[in-house]
Protein backbone atom coordinates (compact mmCIF):
# COMPACT_ATOMS: atom_id res chain seq x y z
CA UNK A 1 0.00 0.00 0.00
CA UNK A 2 1.35 3.43 -0.91
CA UNK A 3 2.08 5.95 1.79
CA UNK A 4 -0.76 8.20 0.60
CA UNK A 5 -3.40 5.50 0.56
CA UNK A 6 -2.27 4.27 3.99
CA UNK A 7 -2.66 7.83 5.28
CA UNK A 8 -6.18 7.99 3.87
CA UNK A 9 -7.06 4.59 5.34
CA UNK A 10 -5.68 5.58 8.72
CA UNK A 11 -7.64 8.84 8.73
CA UNK A 12 -10.81 6.91 7.98
CA UNK A 13 -10.10 4.59 10.91
CA UNK A 14 -9.33 7.63 13.08
CA UNK A 15 -12.70 9.22 12.29
CA UNK A 16 -14.47 5.92 12.84
CA UNK A 17 -12.77 4.93 16.13
CA UNK A 18 -12.99 8.39 17.67
CA UNK A 19 -16.46 9.03 16.26
CA UNK A 20 -15.31 12.42 14.91
CA UNK A 21 -18.68 13.67 13.74
CA UNK A 22 -18.75 15.83 10.62
CA UNK A 23 -15.02 15.39 10.00
CA UNK A 24 -13.74 14.15 6.62
CA UNK A 25 -10.26 12.71 5.94
CA UNK A 26 -9.47 15.77 3.81
CA UNK A 27 -9.95 18.02 6.82
CA UNK A 28 -7.16 16.33 8.79
CA UNK A 29 -3.73 17.62 7.77
CA UNK A 30 -0.87 15.13 7.85
CA UNK A 31 1.22 17.35 10.13
CA UNK A 32 -1.63 18.60 12.32
CA UNK A 33 -1.08 17.91 16.03
CA UNK A 34 -3.67 15.34 17.10
CA UNK A 35 -3.49 16.28 20.77
CA UNK A 36 -3.83 19.86 21.93
CA UNK A 37 -4.76 21.05 18.42
CA UNK A 38 -8.03 21.72 16.58
CA UNK A 39 -9.15 18.09 16.83
CA UNK A 40 -9.14 18.45 20.61
CA UNK A 41 -8.19 14.86 21.41
CA UNK A 42 -7.44 13.82 24.99
CA UNK A 43 -6.05 10.95 27.06
CA UNK A 44 -9.01 8.65 26.42
CA UNK A 45 -8.52 9.18 22.68
CA UNK A 46 -4.90 8.11 23.02
CA UNK A 47 -6.12 4.80 24.47
CA UNK A 48 -8.65 4.48 21.64
CA UNK A 49 -5.81 5.07 19.14
CA UNK A 50 -3.75 2.32 20.78
CA UNK A 51 -6.72 -0.02 20.29
CA UNK A 52 -6.98 1.10 16.64
CA UNK A 53 -3.30 0.27 16.00
CA UNK A 54 -3.73 -3.14 17.63
CA UNK A 55 -6.92 -4.16 15.84
CA UNK A 56 -6.15 -2.76 12.39
CA UNK A 57 -2.37 -3.16 12.13
CA UNK A 58 -1.44 -5.68 14.82
CA UNK A 59 0.77 -3.16 16.62
CA UNK A 60 0.93 -3.47 20.39
CA UNK A 61 1.80 -0.40 22.43
CA UNK A 62 2.15 -1.22 26.11
CA UNK A 63 1.41 2.07 27.80
CA UNK A 64 0.04 5.50 26.92
CA UNK A 65 3.38 7.18 27.78
CA UNK A 66 5.10 5.21 25.02
CA UNK A 67 2.16 6.06 22.81
CA UNK A 68 2.66 9.79 23.25
CA UNK A 69 5.96 9.62 21.30
CA UNK A 70 4.25 7.93 18.38
CA UNK A 71 0.80 9.52 18.43
CA UNK A 72 1.90 13.01 17.41
CA UNK A 73 0.37 13.52 13.96
CA UNK A 74 -0.71 11.46 10.96
CA UNK A 75 2.82 11.50 9.53
CA UNK A 76 4.43 10.05 12.65
CA UNK A 77 1.76 7.42 13.13
CA UNK A 78 1.75 6.27 9.52
CA UNK A 79 5.56 6.07 9.54
CA UNK A 80 5.32 3.90 12.67
CA UNK A 81 2.64 1.70 11.08
CA UNK A 82 4.78 1.15 7.97
CA UNK A 83 7.76 0.14 10.09
CA UNK A 84 5.95 -2.04 12.63
CA UNK A 85 2.73 -3.45 11.20
CA UNK A 86 2.20 -7.17 11.57
CA UNK A 87 -0.96 -7.29 9.44
Amino acid sequence: MSNESLKLEFKEHLINYLNLLDTTPEQINDDEALFGGDLGLDSIDSVELIVLLDREYGIKIKNPQEGRQILVDVNTIVAYIEANRTK
Binding site: S43, I44, V47, V51, N63, P64
Partner: protein, 399 residues
Protein backbone atom coordinates in the same frame (compact mmCIF):
# COMPACT_ATOMS: atom_id res chain seq x y z
CA UNK B 1 -31.38 20.96 66.08
CA UNK B 2 -30.38 18.02 63.91
CA UNK B 3 -31.00 14.52 65.24
CA UNK B 4 -27.86 12.67 66.22
CA UNK B 5 -27.14 9.59 64.09
CA UNK B 6 -25.26 6.62 65.54
CA UNK B 7 -23.95 3.35 64.10
CA UNK B 8 -25.34 0.37 66.00
CA UNK B 9 -24.52 -2.49 63.66
CA UNK B 10 -21.97 -3.44 61.02
CA UNK B 11 -21.68 -6.38 58.63
CA UNK B 12 -18.96 -7.07 56.11
CA UNK B 13 -17.69 -9.68 53.69
CA UNK B 14 -14.51 -9.04 51.73
CA UNK B 15 -11.27 -10.68 50.67
CA UNK B 16 -10.18 -10.19 54.31
CA UNK B 17 -12.86 -12.49 55.66
CA UNK B 18 -16.51 -13.43 55.76
CA UNK B 19 -17.44 -11.36 58.82
CA UNK B 20 -16.51 -8.29 60.80
CA UNK B 21 -14.15 -10.09 63.16
CA UNK B 22 -12.20 -11.83 60.39
CA UNK B 23 -11.80 -8.50 58.58
CA UNK B 24 -10.58 -6.86 61.78
CA UNK B 25 -8.02 -9.58 62.46
CA UNK B 26 -6.62 -9.33 58.92
CA UNK B 27 -6.22 -5.57 59.25
CA UNK B 28 -4.53 -5.84 62.65
CA UNK B 29 -2.12 -8.45 61.38
CA UNK B 30 -1.38 -6.60 58.13
CA UNK B 31 -2.62 -9.54 56.06
CA UNK B 32 -3.67 -8.41 52.59
CA UNK B 33 -6.54 -10.09 50.76
CA UNK B 34 -4.95 -9.48 47.37
CA UNK B 35 -3.78 -12.51 45.43
CA UNK B 36 -4.75 -14.97 42.73
CA UNK B 37 -8.49 -15.28 42.20
CA UNK B 38 -9.89 -18.81 42.59
CA UNK B 39 -13.56 -18.36 41.66
CA UNK B 40 -13.70 -15.37 39.31
CA UNK B 41 -13.66 -16.42 35.65
CA UNK B 42 -11.72 -14.09 33.39
CA UNK B 43 -8.71 -14.20 31.09
CA UNK B 44 -7.08 -11.68 33.43
CA UNK B 45 -7.00 -14.07 36.39
CA UNK B 46 -3.77 -15.44 34.94
CA UNK B 47 -2.03 -12.08 34.75
CA UNK B 48 -3.57 -9.73 37.32
CA UNK B 49 -3.99 -9.96 41.09
CA UNK B 50 -7.47 -9.57 42.58
CA UNK B 51 -8.97 -9.26 46.06
CA UNK B 52 -11.61 -11.97 45.94
CA UNK B 53 -14.10 -13.11 48.56
CA UNK B 54 -13.14 -16.63 49.56
CA UNK B 55 -16.43 -18.31 48.60
CA UNK B 56 -18.07 -19.53 45.43
CA UNK B 57 -21.62 -18.51 44.54
CA UNK B 58 -22.81 -21.97 45.63
CA UNK B 59 -21.07 -21.67 48.99
CA UNK B 60 -22.59 -18.21 49.51
CA UNK B 61 -26.03 -19.55 48.61
CA UNK B 62 -25.74 -22.17 51.36
CA UNK B 63 -24.39 -19.76 53.98
CA UNK B 64 -27.41 -17.47 53.71
CA UNK B 65 -30.70 -19.05 54.87
CA UNK B 66 -33.44 -19.29 52.20
CA UNK B 67 -31.21 -17.95 49.45
CA UNK B 68 -31.75 -20.75 46.95
CA UNK B 69 -33.51 -18.42 44.48
CA UNK B 70 -31.68 -19.08 41.16
CA UNK B 71 -32.08 -15.44 40.14
CA UNK B 72 -29.97 -14.20 43.07
CA UNK B 73 -26.72 -12.91 41.65
CA UNK B 74 -23.40 -12.84 43.47
CA UNK B 75 -24.06 -9.14 44.18
CA UNK B 76 -27.32 -10.05 45.93
CA UNK B 77 -25.73 -12.96 47.80
CA UNK B 78 -22.82 -11.01 49.27
CA UNK B 79 -25.12 -8.08 50.07
CA UNK B 80 -27.55 -10.40 51.90
CA UNK B 81 -24.65 -11.92 53.79
CA UNK B 82 -23.41 -8.55 55.09
CA UNK B 83 -26.90 -7.12 55.72
CA UNK B 84 -27.74 -10.15 57.88
CA UNK B 85 -24.63 -9.64 59.99
CA UNK B 86 -25.32 -5.91 60.38
CA UNK B 87 -28.93 -6.53 61.45
CA UNK B 88 -27.85 -9.14 64.00
CA UNK B 89 -25.08 -6.88 65.26
CA UNK B 90 -27.61 -4.08 65.80
CA UNK B 91 -30.06 -6.54 67.40
CA UNK B 92 -32.91 -5.29 65.23
CA UNK B 93 -36.19 -7.05 65.88
CA UNK B 94 -38.39 -8.23 63.01
CA UNK B 95 -40.87 -5.56 63.97
CA UNK B 96 -38.21 -2.83 63.79
CA UNK B 97 -36.90 -4.22 60.52
CA UNK B 98 -40.33 -4.24 58.90
CA UNK B 99 -41.43 -0.87 60.26
CA UNK B 100 -42.08 1.80 57.65
CA UNK B 101 -39.75 4.03 59.70
CA UNK B 102 -36.84 1.75 58.72
CA UNK B 103 -35.19 2.58 55.39
CA UNK B 104 -32.75 0.66 53.24
CA UNK B 105 -30.22 2.40 50.99
CA UNK B 106 -27.87 0.26 48.97
CA UNK B 107 -25.40 0.90 46.19
CA UNK B 108 -23.48 -0.97 43.55
CA UNK B 109 -21.77 -0.20 40.27
CA UNK B 110 -22.00 -3.57 38.54
CA UNK B 111 -25.30 -4.36 40.27
CA UNK B 112 -27.16 -7.19 38.60
CA UNK B 113 -24.82 -7.23 35.60
CA UNK B 114 -22.15 -9.31 37.27
CA UNK B 115 -22.50 -12.27 34.92
CA UNK B 116 -21.16 -10.74 31.75
CA UNK B 117 -21.71 -13.78 29.54
CA UNK B 118 -25.35 -14.33 30.59
CA UNK B 119 -26.05 -10.67 29.95
CA UNK B 120 -24.34 -10.89 26.57
CA UNK B 121 -26.56 -13.78 25.53
CA UNK B 122 -29.76 -12.30 26.92
CA UNK B 123 -29.12 -8.83 25.48
CA UNK B 124 -28.27 -10.22 22.06
CA UNK B 125 -31.11 -12.74 22.07
CA UNK B 126 -28.84 -15.80 21.91
CA UNK B 127 -30.72 -18.90 23.04
CA UNK B 128 -33.08 -19.26 25.97
CA UNK B 129 -33.15 -16.56 28.63
CA UNK B 130 -30.77 -17.16 31.56
CA UNK B 131 -32.01 -17.33 35.19
CA UNK B 132 -30.73 -13.76 35.53
CA UNK B 133 -32.90 -12.21 32.83
CA UNK B 134 -34.92 -10.29 35.43
CA UNK B 135 -31.85 -9.44 37.54
CA UNK B 136 -29.82 -6.98 35.47
CA UNK B 137 -31.06 -3.71 36.93
CA UNK B 138 -28.73 -1.73 39.17
CA UNK B 139 -31.32 -1.94 41.93
CA UNK B 140 -32.00 -5.67 41.54
CA UNK B 141 -30.24 -6.60 44.78
CA UNK B 142 -32.06 -3.82 46.65
CA UNK B 143 -35.51 -5.08 45.61
CA UNK B 144 -34.63 -8.69 46.38
CA UNK B 145 -33.29 -7.78 49.82
CA UNK B 146 -36.36 -5.62 50.55
CA UNK B 147 -38.60 -8.58 49.64
CA UNK B 148 -36.36 -11.07 51.50
CA UNK B 149 -36.72 -9.20 54.81
CA UNK B 150 -40.22 -7.86 54.19
CA UNK B 151 -39.03 -4.27 54.39
CA UNK B 152 -41.91 -1.81 53.96
CA UNK B 153 -40.07 1.48 54.39
CA UNK B 154 -38.12 3.76 52.09
CA UNK B 155 -35.65 2.10 49.69
CA UNK B 156 -33.01 3.64 47.50
CA UNK B 157 -30.05 2.58 45.35
CA UNK B 158 -27.24 4.96 44.54
CA UNK B 159 -24.64 4.72 41.79
CA UNK B 160 -22.10 7.49 41.74
CA UNK B 161 -19.35 5.06 40.67
CA UNK B 162 -16.59 4.65 43.27
CA UNK B 163 -18.21 6.97 45.85
CA UNK B 164 -21.59 5.15 45.71
CA UNK B 165 -21.79 3.64 49.18
CA UNK B 166 -20.25 6.70 50.85
CA UNK B 167 -23.20 8.57 49.37
CA UNK B 168 -25.56 5.85 50.61
CA UNK B 169 -24.29 6.52 54.14
CA UNK B 170 -24.66 10.28 53.64
CA UNK B 171 -28.20 9.79 52.32
CA UNK B 172 -29.10 7.59 55.31
CA UNK B 173 -27.72 10.14 57.75
CA UNK B 174 -29.83 12.87 56.16
CA UNK B 175 -33.00 10.72 56.17
CA UNK B 176 -32.66 10.36 59.95
CA UNK B 177 -31.60 13.97 60.53
CA UNK B 178 -34.61 15.31 58.62
CA UNK B 179 -36.98 12.97 60.44
CA UNK B 180 -37.88 10.85 57.40
CA UNK B 181 -36.69 7.64 59.06
CA UNK B 182 -35.61 6.40 62.48
CA UNK B 183 -33.35 3.61 61.28
CA UNK B 184 -31.55 3.15 58.00
CA UNK B 185 -29.57 0.17 56.76
CA UNK B 186 -26.92 1.64 54.45
CA UNK B 187 -24.07 0.24 52.41
CA UNK B 188 -23.00 -1.27 49.15
CA UNK B 189 -22.02 -4.45 47.35
CA UNK B 190 -19.91 -5.03 44.26
CA UNK B 191 -18.43 -8.25 43.00
CA UNK B 192 -15.66 -8.98 40.53
CA UNK B 193 -17.03 -8.94 37.00
CA UNK B 194 -15.53 -9.10 33.54
CA UNK B 195 -17.33 -5.86 32.90
CA UNK B 196 -15.43 -3.75 35.42
CA UNK B 197 -12.14 -5.63 35.06
CA UNK B 198 -12.11 -5.04 31.30
CA UNK B 199 -13.31 -1.47 31.73
CA UNK B 200 -10.55 -0.47 34.09
CA UNK B 201 -8.06 -2.43 32.03
CA UNK B 202 -9.12 -0.51 28.91
CA UNK B 203 -8.39 2.69 30.83
CA UNK B 204 -4.92 1.27 31.58
CA UNK B 205 -5.21 1.79 35.31
CA UNK B 206 -4.91 -1.79 36.62
CA UNK B 207 -1.59 -2.74 38.21
CA UNK B 208 0.05 -6.08 37.43
CA UNK B 209 1.16 -6.27 41.06
CA UNK B 210 -0.83 -5.60 44.26
CA UNK B 211 -1.68 -1.89 44.33
CA UNK B 212 0.82 0.45 46.02
CA UNK B 213 -1.19 3.40 47.33
CA UNK B 214 0.88 6.57 47.91
CA UNK B 215 4.07 4.92 46.67
CA UNK B 216 6.27 6.87 44.28
CA UNK B 217 6.26 3.87 41.90
CA UNK B 218 2.54 3.08 42.10
CA UNK B 219 1.19 1.96 38.76
CA UNK B 220 -2.52 1.41 39.12
CA UNK B 221 -5.25 -0.15 41.19
CA UNK B 222 -6.20 -3.70 42.10
CA UNK B 223 -9.86 -4.66 41.83
CA UNK B 224 -11.60 -6.38 44.69
CA UNK B 225 -15.08 -7.40 45.77
CA UNK B 226 -16.97 -6.79 48.99
CA UNK B 227 -20.25 -6.00 50.64
CA UNK B 228 -20.45 -3.81 53.72
CA UNK B 229 -23.55 -2.51 55.50
CA UNK B 230 -24.12 -0.37 58.58
CA UNK B 231 -27.23 0.11 60.69
CA UNK B 232 -27.73 3.80 61.43
CA UNK B 233 -30.20 4.81 64.13
CA UNK B 234 -31.43 8.07 65.56
CA UNK B 235 -29.73 8.32 68.94
CA UNK B 236 -33.03 8.24 70.82
CA UNK B 237 -33.86 4.89 69.19
CA UNK B 238 -30.57 3.29 70.22
CA UNK B 239 -30.91 3.38 74.00
CA UNK B 240 -29.24 0.43 75.68
CA UNK B 241 -27.35 -0.60 72.56
CA UNK B 242 -23.65 -0.59 71.82
CA UNK B 243 -22.91 2.49 69.73
CA UNK B 244 -19.98 1.90 67.42
CA UNK B 245 -19.64 5.57 66.47
CA UNK B 246 -21.56 8.69 65.57
CA UNK B 247 -21.99 9.72 61.93
CA UNK B 248 -21.07 13.32 62.58
CA UNK B 249 -20.78 14.82 59.13
CA UNK B 250 -20.71 14.33 55.38
CA UNK B 251 -19.85 16.43 52.36
CA UNK B 252 -20.24 15.88 48.64
CA UNK B 253 -18.91 17.93 45.73
CA UNK B 254 -18.34 17.52 42.04
CA UNK B 255 -14.82 17.98 40.71
CA UNK B 256 -16.28 19.25 37.38
CA UNK B 257 -12.98 18.50 35.66
CA UNK B 258 -12.98 15.26 33.66
CA UNK B 259 -15.26 12.20 33.27
CA UNK B 260 -12.62 9.74 34.55
CA UNK B 261 -9.79 11.69 36.19
CA UNK B 262 -9.41 14.06 39.13
CA UNK B 263 -8.28 17.69 38.90
CA UNK B 264 -4.68 18.82 39.51
CA UNK B 265 -5.75 21.31 42.18
CA UNK B 266 -8.02 18.75 43.90
CA UNK B 267 -10.93 21.18 43.96
CA UNK B 268 -13.59 18.44 44.26
CA UNK B 269 -11.82 16.51 47.05
CA UNK B 270 -11.05 19.78 48.90
CA UNK B 271 -14.69 20.88 48.73
CA UNK B 272 -15.92 17.44 49.86
CA UNK B 273 -13.57 17.41 52.86
CA UNK B 274 -14.30 21.01 53.90
CA UNK B 275 -18.06 20.53 53.49
CA UNK B 276 -17.88 17.41 55.68
CA UNK B 277 -15.92 19.35 58.33
CA UNK B 278 -18.43 22.22 58.20
CA UNK B 279 -21.31 19.76 58.39
CA UNK B 280 -19.76 18.12 61.47
CA UNK B 281 -18.86 21.48 63.02
CA UNK B 282 -15.19 20.44 63.29
CA UNK B 283 -11.85 22.05 62.52
CA UNK B 284 -9.29 20.14 60.40
CA UNK B 285 -6.96 19.71 63.40
CA UNK B 286 -9.67 17.77 65.24
CA UNK B 287 -9.44 14.90 62.74
CA UNK B 288 -7.06 12.26 64.14
CA UNK B 289 -7.16 9.77 61.27
CA UNK B 290 -8.09 9.64 57.59
CA UNK B 291 -9.02 6.50 55.69
CA UNK B 292 -7.93 7.75 52.27
CA UNK B 293 -9.50 6.91 48.92
CA UNK B 294 -5.91 5.88 47.97
CA UNK B 295 -6.52 3.73 44.90
CA UNK B 296 -2.88 3.42 43.87
CA UNK B 297 -3.30 5.20 40.55
CA UNK B 298 -0.85 7.95 39.61
CA UNK B 299 -3.71 10.43 39.26
CA UNK B 300 -5.77 9.75 42.40
CA UNK B 301 -3.03 9.53 45.00
CA UNK B 302 -1.33 12.71 43.85
CA UNK B 303 -4.63 14.64 43.76
CA UNK B 304 -5.68 13.34 47.17
CA UNK B 305 -2.38 14.43 48.74
CA UNK B 306 -2.73 17.88 47.13
CA UNK B 307 -6.16 17.95 48.75
CA UNK B 308 -4.70 16.93 52.14
CA UNK B 309 -2.16 19.72 51.86
CA UNK B 310 -4.82 22.29 51.07
CA UNK B 311 -7.23 21.21 53.84
CA UNK B 312 -4.89 20.07 56.60
CA UNK B 313 -1.45 21.51 55.82
CA UNK B 314 0.07 18.34 57.19
CA UNK B 315 -2.58 15.61 57.41
CA UNK B 316 -3.07 13.40 60.50
CA UNK B 317 -2.33 9.66 60.40
CA UNK B 318 -3.73 8.22 57.18
CA UNK B 319 -3.74 4.95 55.28
CA UNK B 320 -5.33 3.26 52.31
CA UNK B 321 -7.05 0.03 53.26
CA UNK B 322 -7.36 -0.64 49.52
CA UNK B 323 -3.87 -2.08 49.98
CA UNK B 324 -5.73 -4.96 51.73
CA UNK B 325 -9.06 -5.20 49.93
CA UNK B 326 -8.29 -3.77 46.51
CA UNK B 327 -10.73 -1.25 45.10
CA UNK B 328 -14.19 -2.63 45.75
CA UNK B 329 -15.87 0.17 43.72
CA UNK B 330 -19.47 0.64 44.85
CA UNK B 331 -18.75 -1.11 48.14
CA UNK B 332 -15.56 0.83 48.89
CA UNK B 333 -17.23 3.74 50.72
CA UNK B 334 -19.13 1.60 53.20
CA UNK B 335 -16.32 -0.99 53.57
CA UNK B 336 -13.89 1.79 54.44
CA UNK B 337 -16.46 3.40 56.73
CA UNK B 338 -16.56 0.11 58.66
CA UNK B 339 -12.74 0.06 58.83
CA UNK B 340 -12.66 3.70 59.94
CA UNK B 341 -15.10 2.88 62.73
CA UNK B 342 -13.00 -0.16 63.74
CA UNK B 343 -10.04 2.23 64.03
CA UNK B 344 -12.05 4.58 66.24
CA UNK B 345 -13.43 1.77 68.41
CA UNK B 346 -10.04 0.10 68.88
CA UNK B 347 -7.89 3.26 68.93
CA UNK B 348 -5.57 1.96 66.23
CA UNK B 349 -4.51 2.73 62.68
CA UNK B 350 -3.75 -0.16 60.34
CA UNK B 351 -0.54 -0.22 58.36
CA UNK B 352 -0.90 1.06 54.80
CA UNK B 353 0.71 -1.74 52.76
CA UNK B 354 3.08 -1.66 49.78
CA UNK B 355 4.24 1.93 50.25
CA UNK B 356 8.00 1.39 50.20
CA UNK B 357 8.99 4.67 48.61
CA UNK B 358 6.56 7.42 49.65
CA UNK B 359 5.79 10.07 47.04
CA UNK B 360 8.76 12.42 46.85
CA UNK B 361 6.78 15.58 46.25
CA UNK B 362 4.96 15.46 49.60
CA UNK B 363 6.44 15.93 53.06
CA UNK B 364 4.02 13.38 54.55
CA UNK B 365 3.37 9.68 54.05
CA UNK B 366 0.80 7.09 55.12
CA UNK B 367 1.07 5.06 58.33
CA UNK B 368 3.48 2.31 57.31
CA UNK B 369 3.07 0.15 60.39
CA UNK B 370 0.24 -0.59 62.81
CA UNK B 371 -0.24 2.36 65.18
CA UNK B 372 -1.58 1.24 68.55
CA UNK B 373 -3.32 3.29 71.23
CA UNK B 374 -4.08 6.37 69.19
CA UNK B 375 -7.13 8.05 70.69
CA UNK B 376 -9.35 8.89 67.73
CA UNK B 377 -12.18 11.27 68.60
CA UNK B 378 -12.95 12.07 64.95
CA UNK B 379 -11.95 10.31 61.74
CA UNK B 380 -12.56 10.99 58.05
CA UNK B 381 -13.14 8.58 55.17
CA UNK B 382 -12.76 9.71 51.55
CA UNK B 383 -14.33 8.32 48.38
CA UNK B 384 -13.92 9.78 44.89
CA UNK B 385 -15.61 8.44 41.79
CA UNK B 386 -15.87 8.79 38.03
CA UNK B 387 -18.09 11.61 36.90
CA UNK B 388 -16.16 13.83 39.37
CA UNK B 389 -18.17 12.62 42.38
CA UNK B 390 -16.31 13.28 45.66
CA UNK B 391 -17.59 12.42 49.13
CA UNK B 392 -16.06 12.69 52.59
CA UNK B 393 -17.61 11.19 55.71
CA UNK B 394 -16.74 11.97 59.32
CA UNK B 395 -17.27 9.51 62.16
CA UNK B 396 -16.79 10.34 65.84
CA UNK B 397 -16.28 8.29 68.97
CA UNK B 398 -19.39 8.00 71.14
CA UNK B 399 -18.76 9.23 74.66
Amino acid sequence: MKRKVVVTGMGVISSLGNNLNENHQSLRNALSGIGKADFFESAYVATLPFAEINASDEQLRIKVPNAANPSYTRTTLIALHAVLEAIQDAQLTTEQLQSNRTAFISSSTVGGMCYTDSLYNDANDNGNPSPYVTSYEGSDHTVRIALYFGLTGYTDTINTACSSSANAIMQGMRLIQTGRADRVIVGGADCLAKYTVNGFNALRILSESPCKPFDQNRDGLTLGEAAAYLVLEAEECSIGKRKWAEVSGAGNANDAYHPSATSDDARGPVLAMTRALDNAGLRPDQIAYINAHGTGTENNDRTECVGFQRVFGTPPAFNSTKSYTGHTLGAAGSLEAVFTILSIANQEVYASLNCEHPQAEFAFQPARSHIQVLPIAHAMSNSFGFGGNCTSLIFSACS
